[in-house]
């Protein structure tokens, strides 16, 4: 059994990477244990450690001449060697076909589940149940859009009546005539300030996300630290993704509105002759 490894230490976390090679002519069950002073943080799926992993290491089954790469993190400082093959007995080749030897995996003593492991198996092995984020964004967006449309509909219905148009125009004209400056600020600046604020926030988020994009390990570690954890960064990633979507929608809408605006031509002179 050949074992090679590298250890990297960054921000109080040791990342141990190893390659294991079964150089014998028989399948072997190999137990690889961490030599670091502290629990192993194994690779996880859906929050559940991969099969074969426990607090001290991993148990694998390797076919003859099979190579496998694996890695784990630990909070403890690195030691040399960081990992060791504890035992590697030969196993019956007709036994388990998967790479993981389920018999050798110790059941988690903390789980007082009636069916040890099977909930974890279901979580780890079956496809994700959560509806995609895009579906939820579409869901809420449609809701908002519907509401906006309804409001617009009410206004449009109102403005279909002649007198209402005049009423609206009059009130706007009154405001403008009375105190054009204040009317403008009252009507426009709060929303404009809100829009600017939103753009600033988006820009800030994108800037943060850019710092992590294609960053080397130490920059990324700094970014994780300053963000306050990987969870925060995941939330940021989610926000930036939805920002991108909204920005694209906005730019599409703005472009089509600009085209429509350019195409309009209010015949003021003709209208003046009418009145």
């Amino acid at each position: 059994m050949n074992l090679a490894w590298t250890v990297e230490r960054d921000a109080d976390v040791s990342l141990v990477r190893c390659r294991v090679h079964n150089d014998s002519a028989v399948p072997r069950r190999v137990r690889i244990e961490s030599q670091l002073e502290g629990p192993v943080l194994p690779p996880r799926r859906a929050g559940v450690p991969e099969a074969g992993w426990d607090e001290t290491g991993v148990t694998l089954r390797l076919k003859p001449d099979e190579r496998r790469a694996l890695g784990f993190a630990a909070l403890a400082p690195p030691v040399d060697p960081p990992v060791a093959v504890v035992r590697s007995p030969a196993v019956d080749p007709d036994g388990c076909h998967s790479g993981i030897d389920s018999e050798a995996v110790d059941p988690d003593p903390e789980t007082c589940s009636r069916s040890p492991g099977s909930v974890r198996d279901a979580l780890r092995d079956l496809a994700e149940h959560r509806p995609p984020r895009a579906a939820i964004a579409a869901d809420t967006d449609t809701g908002d859009a519907d509401r906006r449309e309804n409001e617009a509909g009410i206004r449009a219905d109102g403005s279909d009546d002649g007198p209402d148009i005049r009423g609206d125009d009059c009130s706007a004209a009154d405001l403008t005539n009375g105190d054009p400056g204040s009317a403008n600020t009252d009507l426009e600046s709060p929303s404009r300030a809100a829009i600017d604020e939103w753009f600033d926030a988006v820009e800030h988020r994108i800037g943060r996300a850019e710092r992590v994009t294609d960053a080397d390990l130490s920059t990324a570690t700094d970014a994780v630290e300053s963000a306050g954890g990987v969870d925060e960064l995941a939330a940021l990633d989610e926000r930036v993704e939805s920002d991108a979507e909204r920005l694209r929608d906005l730019s599409d809408r703005a472009a089509s509105l600009a085209t429509r605006a350019e195409a309009t031509d209010t015949p003021i002179e003709a209208l003046e002759r009418l009145s």
Partner: protein, 216 residues
């Protein structure tokens, strides 16, 4: 005891059967279909809240002829659910109320697998059509992987004589035939199980037969 009512396809009558079986067992029924809840909801916390850590499982229990733990209707709620919390929630209700029936979602994703992994036994609901049977066989395989013993299958909404023996053979469990009966269809929305509404009907007899196979 925790009984999962599963079936490969949607629309074969899992919810209706789960509700009526729960009535016959005097059990609590939990709507575990996180993405497409069917059992009547209500005000107050639901299973989405429980699995998002926002409510106690007992708080979500809604008393009625059959006690129900309803499930939320939103996709965002379904996305926020932590399936790892389902076992604790179901066990808490089992401890206070005895028997729990889980109305499982269709498919083979984790939300269908975890209830099967929690359950002591499962009941498959099958539609007599060939394509539905293929899905039921896949769900049967999933239940076997996750150690949910199959106690029986219900061939649901029968109008013509189904190939009962062939279906029982394919699934490897005794099959009961639940005839199409509008009273069964209405039972969930009216909250009036068929074993009460029409105790002598063929459907009620079939449901009692299914319940008789449950492990004691």
């Amino acid at each position: 005891m925790i009984l999962a009512v599963a079936g490969g396809k949607g629309g074969v009558g899992k919810t209706t059967l789960a509700y009526n079986v729960a009535a016959a067992l005097d059990a609590v029924v939990i709507d575990a279909d996180l993405g497409m809840a069917d059992l009547p909801g209500g005000r107050g916390p639901d299973l989405h809240d429980v699995l998002a850590g926002g409510a106690d499982p007992i708080e979500a229990l809604r008393p009625g002829r059959v006690d129900i733990v309803p499930c939320g209707r939103t996709l965002a709620g379904a996305r926020a659910c932590d399936l790892a919390a389902l076992e604790g929630a179901v066990t808490a209700i089992e401890q206070t109320h005895g028997i729990v029936v889980l109305d499982c979602p269709a498919g083979r994703r984790a939300d269908a697998g975890v209830p099967l992994a929690i359950a002591d036994a499962c009941l498959l609901v099958v539609s007599p059509r060939a394509f539905a049977l293929a899905d039921a066989i896949r769900t049967r395989a999933l239940a076997r992987e996750l150690d949910a013993g199959l106690v029986g299958c219900a061939i649901n909404r029968i109008t013509a004589e189904p190939p009962t023996a062939a279906i029982a053979d394919a699934l490897g469990a005794p099959a009961s035939v639940v005839p199409a009966d509008p009273r069964v269809g209405r039972s969930v929305s009216e909250e009036r199980p068929v074993v009460d509404a029409a105790p002598e009907s063929d459907a009620a007899v079939a449901i009692r037969e299914l319940v008789g196979r449950m492990p004691k």
